[in-house]
């Protein structure tokens, strides 16, 4: 079978890392939801406030947690979209376009996340 330009190798690496990041995200999401969605904003809380989040991010462990979460979630999400796109887009120009667009979305989101988090390091 002819190889499409824009696909990185056989895709087996992407497939394996999708599994590894997926399992990692299950663990990270439990912590994220308990603290950010249920805990502060849940039935007992008045919702999340700037003060609460800033106080939590002063703890280096939570800072590392959020940074890892940001990178792993973005990678898993955008690699997943790429896996779907690669199944349906066959014209080389569309594949390269989708690949580039996903990298740009990923890079901009990563940058936005980093400029939000890093200045709040304690």
């Amino acid at each position: 079978m002819e190889r499409f330009p824009g696909s990185s190798g056989s895709g087996a690496q992407g497939w394996l890392w999708q599994r590894v990041t997926g399992v990692t995200l299950v663990v990270l999401l439990v912590g994220h939801f308990l603290l950010k969605h249920f805990g502060m904003g849940g039935s007992e809380g008045e919702g999340i406030t700037h003060a609460l989040v800033v106080a939590q991010l002063r703890n280096p462990w939570w800072m590392v947690f959020e940074l890892v979460f940001l990178v792993v979630a973005l990678w898993h999400g955008l690699n997943g979209v790429w896996m779907v796109a690669a199944d349906y887009l066959h014209a080389p120009v569309l594949r390269v376009g989708a690949y580039l667009a996903l990298w740009i979305v990923g890079f901009v989101s990563l940058l936005l996340g980093l400029v939000t988090l890093l200045p709040l390091a304690g």
Binding site: R19, G22, V23, L25, V26, L29, F33, H37, F38, G41, G42, S43, E44, E46, G47, I48, T49, H50, A51, V53, V54, L70, A73, L74, G77, L78, G80, V81, V84, V105, V108, S109, L112, G113, V115, T116, P119, L120
Partner: protein, 120 residues
Amino acid sequence: MMYRWRTGGVAWLLHRLSGLALAAYLPLHVWVNHHLSVGPERYDEVMRFLHTPLFRVLECGLWGVILYHALNGVRVVLIDLGIGVTLRGQKVLFWAAMVLAAVFWVWGSVGLVGSLVTGG
């Protein structure tokens, strides 16, 4: 060839659709949270808006989509590892994942909108 709507095929399709939805939500979520660096007033204003009943109900939907994708994803990984590979095994794993997802969904949703119902 006719497409047969069987458990595995439906699970696969829903996994893709839920994954695409979550991937679309993620950059939006990062953007909303970047208001942390805009300042306390603006951030608290945005969070108050997202704490209104409508968004808390929507958050229950988000929690459901995440649970489906996460637990069906765990099932896919188990099958990749050689656990429950038979047709029957895959089906049993699917329904086990869905029961777990339902339990976690109810538990989480009580935390998200419980106070709306009880008026607390």
